[in-house]
Amino acid sequence: MKELTLELALKMIEAAERWAREIAESPCSIAVVDKAGAVIAVHRMDGAGMATTDIAIEKAWTAVAFKMPTLMGSRWLDPRNIGKLLGDHAMGMIGRGKGRLCFIPGGIPITDEENEIIGAIGCSGVPSGVGDISDTTVSQAGVTALYE
């Protein structure tokens, strides 16, 4: 079982930052949390909004708490699903987890070789839309760097 250390967290954050700077061309905040949801490292790039650090941490926390990318959970909060099918939405999620729950896409859990979740990475501040550019892909760049 691999332990997520500060060194590994920084390696991931550096890679995600490089991706955000060179490909997404948008400043953002990146946070890495351990398997308990506790922050290991946060970086806010120059020019990124000041609230993005908190949102990045919350995304990473949510990803590790639900053991799934926040992109998957964001479907639950889609108001179009209300009334369609029983149990197809989870509006009650809003405000849970002492306000830390955040289902905006951009948080991804990190797994080790045995598919155990050892932490999560979250990114906030990248405007999504064109092509592959979004918070999720910046986080993915970070996760990829862990196994390079």
Binding site: E3, T5, L6, L10, A36, A38, V39, I40, A41, V42, H43, R44, M45, D46, M50, T53, D54
Partner: protein, 149 residues
């Protein structure tokens, strides 16, 4: 001006110094308005230290004084007693270990450290600032004149 590069430099110095001493700590760097720029929690340090370090840095940056001085303002014997029970953005702390960072008499940010005891925190804070800004501060324009031989 606090930017990520400066914050990384401060954090690297801090983590290196803490490792040399065998300490586990969290270090937070905020900009001049108290907003988080970077935060590192070392392996082995307890979970709440990250948030405490951030609170210390916030307090130092927004009050523009070290958190140890803030704690003096909250002394029951002084007239300012009571300000520390107000809700300042949920972040006010009077634990020593946060220092504002000045560069040529401009506030550029603040640093907060949380490890085992406040005494060690203050020492680590001061050592980090000495490592990064030490030469600049001791050989500042005002002092150079007086030291001239």
């Amino acid at each position: 001006m606090m930017n990520l590069m400066m914050a990384k430099k401060l954090l690297q110095t801090g983590v290196k110094r803490a490792r040399e001493k065998g300490m586990f700590c969290s270090i937070a760097i905020v900009d001049e308005n108290g907003w988080l720029v970077a935060l590192h929690r070392m392996d082995g340090s307890s979970i709440p230290t990250a948030e405490i370090a951030r609170d210390k840095a916030w307090t130092a940056a927004t009050f523009r004084i070290p958190t140890s001085v803030v704690s003096q303002l909250g002394d029951p014997k002084v007239p300012g007693y009571g300000f520390n029970v107000q809700n300042w953005n949920d972040r006010l702390t009077t634990i020593p270990g946060g220092l504002p960072i000045w560069e040529s008499s401009h506030l550029i940010g603040a640093i907060g450290v949380c490890s085992q005891t406040p005494k060690e925190d203050v020492l680590l804070c001061k050592n980090i600032l000495k490592d990064i800004f030490g030469e600049k501060r001791d050989l500042g324009s005002e002092r150079r004149k007086t030291r001239k031989k």
